[in-house]
C-alpha cells in the first residue's frame, strides 16, 4: 500500500480558533484591549460560541499570550515580540499555489516578470494537483480567452482599478454588436463556472446623474483606460443586486421518480431555497429565491427536468412554462422514424 498523501487537510494549523487568537494578538500588539473587545473580536472572526471558549483561556492565562496592563486595570497587552501577520505558509498551501500556476486564468493576476519570480519561489514545490486531471465536461464551449494578450491586459487594468477604486474609461461591444463608451467604477468581478466567463459589475452615472450598476462581459471590452480619478467610498454592490431579487420566489413540486429529488436538490443547491415534504403525497415542495436577471436560466433548468418537476407558483413563471409547452404541442406529435439518420 502506498502512502495516501503527504498532507492533512483537516489540521489544527488551520483551525478557526488560531485565527481568532491571531487577530486578538494583532490588535493587542498595537494597543491594550479590554475583555469586551476580546469578546467582540471572537464574535467577529470565530464561530457563534467561540468567544465562550477562547476569551476565558486568554484572560485566565491558560493560553499565556496576554498580559495585564499595569497602568490600566482591565486592559490586556500582547506578549509577542513580532507581528502575527503575515504568517508563513505551510507546504500544503504552497503546493496548492503551485498547482494554480498551470491554470490558464492564473496569468491574469501577474505580469510576466512576476510570474517568473513566482515560479522561482515555487521551484522546489510539488503541485497539489494537475489541472489536466480534471475535466469540466459540460462547460460551455465559448469560455473567455484567458491567454489572449488583450484580454489579459484588460483584466490587469480592471483588477488594479478594483483594488484602488479607480474609475476606468471603457469601450464595450454589446450583445447586439453596438459599441458603447462609458466611464465607470469597477466594483466586482463575477466568474461563472458554467460558461467560464468573467463579468464586471461597474457603476456609472446616467445622464440624469442617477447611479446604475452595469454588468459587462470582460471578453467584450474593447479598451480599458485608467482615468486617474478615484472613488473615496466603496460601493455596496449587494444593495444594487437586491433590487433585482424576485418579489415572489418560484415554488416547485418535485416527485421522487427517477431520483428527481436528489438530482434537483443538488442542481438547485446554489440558490437560496427551502424544501418541505408534503406528507399527503410523498412529494416535495421547493421554494427558490432567485435573481430576476437570471430567470430564463432558471426556467431552462426547470424545463430540463421534464415532468418530474412542476412549477406551482408564481403565476407569471407558470405562464412562461405553459407558453413553451403550448408551443411544443403546436409543433406536432412525434415522428416515428427511429434511426433514420
Amino acid at each position: 500500500m502506498m502512502k495516501n498523501h503527504d498532507f492533512f487537510l483537516f489540521s489544527e494549523l488551520y483551525t478557526c480558533y488560531y485565527q481568532v487568537v491571531a487577530r486578538i494578538l494583532q490588535e493587542a500588539g498595537s494597543h491594550p484591549v479590554t475583555r469586551s473587545r476580546l469578546e467582540k473580536l471572537a464574535g467577529e472572526y470565530g464561530y457563534g460560541e467561540s468567544g465562550l471558549s477562547i476569551v476565558p483561556q486568554l484572560v485566565s492565562g491558560r493560553w499565556p499570550f496576554l498580559e495585564s496592563d499595569s497602568r490600566r486595570p482591565g486592559f490586556y497587552g500582547c506578549r509577542l515580540k513580532h507581528p502575527v501577520f503575515p504568517q508563513p505558509l505551510t507546504n500544503l498551501q504552497k503546493s496548492w499555489l503551485k498547482a494554480l500556476v498551470s491554470d490558464p486564468r492564473f496569468c491574469l493576476f501577474f505580469t510576466d516578470c512576476q510570474l517568473t519570480e513566482l515560479n522561482r519561489w515555487l521551484e522546489d514545490t510539488k503541485p497539489l494537483f494537475r489541472v489536466s486531471d480534471f475535466c469540466l465536461f459540460d462547460q460551455y464551449g465559448d469560455h473567455d480567452p484567458f491567454s489572449s494578450a488583450m484580454y489579459r491586459k484588460h483584466m490587469y487594468v480592471i483588477l488594479n482599478a478594483l483594488y484602488t477604486r479607480q474609475l476606468l474609461s471603457l469601450s464595450y461591444m454589446t450583445g447586439k454588436k453596438r459599441i458603447l463608451a462609458c466611464t465607470c467604477l469597477p466594483c466586482r468581478l463575477e466568474y461563472g463556472q458554467r460558461d467560464g466567463k468573467f463579468r464586471l459589475y461597474a457603476m456609472s452615472a446616467g445622464t440624469s446623474g442617477r447611479r446604475r450598476m452595469d454588468v459587462l462581459n470582460v471578453a467584450r471590452i474593447l479598451s480599458a483606460e485608467e482615468t486617474g480619478k478615484f472613488s473615496p467610498e466603496p460601493v455596496d454592490v449587494d444593495a444594487f443586486l437586491n433590487r433585482a431579487l424576485c418579489r415572489e420566489p418560484v415554488v416547485l413540486e418535485i416527485t421522487t421518480e427517477r431520483n428527481a429529488l436528489e438530482r434537483a436538490m443538488l442542481h438547485f443547491s446554489c440558490y437560496q431555497k427551502k424544501v418541505e415534504r408534503l406528507e399527503d403525497t410523498g412529494r416535495y415542495r421547493c421554494t427558490i429565491y432567485y435573481d430576476k436577471r437570471w430567470e430564463t436560466e432558471l426556467l431552462i433548468q426547470i424545463l430540463s427536468f421534464g415532468p418530474v418537476i412542476k412549477v406551482l407558483e408564481p403565476e407569471s413563471f407558470v405562464l412562461q412554462i405553459r407558453e413553451r409547452v403550448k408551443n411544443q404541442a403546436a409543433l406536432g406529435q412525434p415522428q416515428t422514424h427511429i434511426a433514420s439518420h
Binding site: Q26, G48, P64, L118, F134, D138, G141, V325
Partner: protein, 419 residues
C-alpha cells in the same frame, strides 16, 4: 457524558450532517437515525455555531427541520469551509503555535533544549522538551521550520523566505488567492492563505457555484494522489439510494466535473478487466491509495478512446454508440441566442441548417438518455426528436405528453386557454 465542544476530532463524522442540512434541509431530528438523538443535537448545535447567519428552521406541526441555505453567488468565501477549520487542539498546540515562531523570528537556529529554556525565560512557558521536539518535527513536515545539524545537535529555525513569497509578490498573489479560493479545487486551502495573511476576498464572486463540493476534498486528494502515481485505490462507496456501503478496487483516471448539475465523479478502470466505471465523489466515503497499477496505460487509453463518445459520465449498458437527432425551430433574426446555445452547449454535436428557421442537431453518444435533460431545455422548439435507442425516444415523447397533461390539462392549445 462528554462535554459539548464547538471543535471536533474527525471530519468524517460531520460530513454527512453538513451535506444533509445543506442539500436536503427537510429532514427532522427523527430522520437522522444513524446516530443517537444526542449526537444529532450536538451536530446541529455545532452547525448553528459554524454557519450562523445561514441556518434556518422550519416548523411543521410538532416536527422541526433545520437547514442551511444561501445564495452561492453572493458568497465571498464558501461558508462550508468553516467545517474544515474546526479541528481540536491542545493547550500546548496553541501555545507553541504562537510562541515558537515568535521566538524563532530573529532568524537564529536553536537546539530543542535552548528553545525550552528561552520559552520559559521569555514567555514564562514551561513545556517539556519532548513535546517541543514533537511539535518541531510536525512544523518541519509542514515546511514552517527547518532543521540543520551542527556537531551532534539538531538546530531549528524558521523556514524564512521559503515559506513567504517575495514582498513584491504578496499583493498580486493575495488577489489571485482571493479568486482561486472560490474557483479552483481545494479552495478551502486558499481561504486559509487569506487567513494567514489577514486578507479578505472583497471583489470576487462566483456564479452557479456548488459549495458542497468542498466536503469531498479529502477523498479527492486521495484520488489525485493515486492518479499521479498511476496507482489503484480501495474505495468504500455508498450510493445515495443504497443502504449498504461496498468496497471497490479501481484505478482512477480522471475527475469529471459537471458545471451544470453540481456533480463530481471519478472515472476509473476496474482492476482485472478493461471496463471503466464512474463514481460520484459524494458517494465515496473513504479512499486508500494502493500500489501502482501496471494496467494504468491501457485504462487511460481506453478512456481517451471513448471520451469523445460520452455525453456526460455514463458509459452506457452496451458498447454500441447511440445516435440522437433533434430539429430545433428558431427565429433566425431575433433568436440568434438559441443558435448560440446549440453551438456552445452541444458538446461537439453536428449542427446543420435544414431550412430557414430549422436546425438539426445530431450527436453520437454512449448513453442517449443523458442527453434528454439538455434537449428538454429547448421545449417549445423541438420539431422532431429521434434516437437510435427506441426506449429513449419513447421516454422523451412520454415526458412531453406528461408536460402537456399538466400544463395544458384541457388539451386546448389555444391562446385563451386557462389552466
Amino acid at each position: 457524558m462528554s462535554e459539548y465542544k464547538e471543535l471536533i476530532r474527525q471530519f468524517d463524522k460531520i460530513r454527512s450532517y453538513v451535506r444533509d442540512f445543506y442539500i436536503y434541509g427537510f429532514k427532522t431530528r427523527e430522520e437522522f437515525r444513524e446516530k443517537s438523538g444526542r449526537t444529532y443535537d450536538n451536530q446541529r448545535r455545532r452547525m448553528e455555531s459554524w454557519f450562523s447567519g445561514y441556518m434556518q428552521a422550519d416548523q411543521n406541526g410538532r416536527k422541526k427541520s433545520v437547514f442551511l441555505t444561501m445564495d452561492s453567488s453572493r458568497m465571498a468565501v464558501n461558508p462550508l469551509y468553516q467545517a474544515w477549520k474546526s479541528k481540536t487542539f491542545t493547550d500546548n498546540d496553541i501555545i507553541l503555535r504562537f510562541f515558537l515562531p515568535d521566538l524563532l523570528a530573529d532568524g537564529r537556529f536553536r537546539s530543542v533544549e535552548t528553545i525550552a529554556d528561552q520559552l520559559q525565560e521569555q514567555y514564562c512557558c514551561l513545556i517539556d522538551t519532548q513535546t517541543i521536539r514533537r511539535k518541531l518535527a510536525a512544523c518541519e513536515r509542514e515546511g514552517l521550520v527547518v532543521r540543520r545539524k551542527e556537531g551532534r545537535q539538531h538546530l531549528y529555525g524558521t523556514a524564512g523566505c521559503r515559506s513567504m513569497p517575495p514582498d513584491q509578490l504578496l499583493e498580486p498573489l493575495a488577489r489571485a488567492v482571493g479568486f482561486f479560493q472560490g474557483a479552483a479545487p481545494f479552495g478551502f486551502i486558499g481561504s486559509t492563505v487569506l487567513d494567514f495573511w489577514d486578507r479578505k476576498n472583497e471583489y470576487f464572486r462566483f456564479r452557479s457555484d456548488y459549495l458542497v463540493h468542498t466536503l469531498e476534498d479529502e477523498v479527492l486528494l486521495a484520488l489525485l494522489t493515486a492518479m499521479e502515481g498511476q496507482a489503484g485505490v480501495l474505495m468504500t462507496v455508498k450510493s445515495t439510494r443504497g443502504r449498504r456501503a461496498r468496497d471497490v478496487t479501481v484505478t482512477p483516471l480522471k475527475i469529471l466535473i459537471s458545471t451544470q448539475t453540481g456533480r463530481r465523479y471519478v472515472c476509473a478502470g476496474q482492476q482485472g478487466s478493461h471496463r471503466l466505471s464512474t463514481f460520484r465523489l459524494d458517494t465515496i466515503q473513504n479512499a486508500v491509495v494502493l500500489e501502482p497499477d501496471p494496467d494504468y496505460e491501457n485504462h487511460m487509453k481506453h478512456y481517451q478512446d471513448i471520451f469523445p463518445r460520452m455525453w456526460g459520465v455514463s458509459l452506457g449498458d452496451t458498447r454500441a454508440a447511440e445516435t440522437v437527432s433533434a430539429q430545433i425551430c428558431l427565429d433566425e433574426k431575433e433568436e440568434t441566442h438559441i443558435l448560440a446555445r446549440l453551438d456552445r452547449e452541444g458538446r461537439g454535436g453536428v449542427l446543420k441548417r435544414l431550412e430557414p428557421g430549422v436546425y438539426q442537431y445530431c450527436r453520437v453518444c454512449l448513453d442517449a438518455a443523458e442527453l434528454l435533460p439538455w434537449i428538454k431545455s429547448f421545449t417549445g422548439r423541438i420539431r422532431s426528436f429521434c434516437c437510435s435507442n427506441p426506449a429513449v425516444e419513447q421516454r422523451f415523447w412520454n415526458d412531453m405528453d406528461m408536460m402537456k397533461a399538466y400544463y395544458l390539462p384541457s388539451g386546448d392549445y389555444s391562446d385563451d386557454e386557462k389552466p
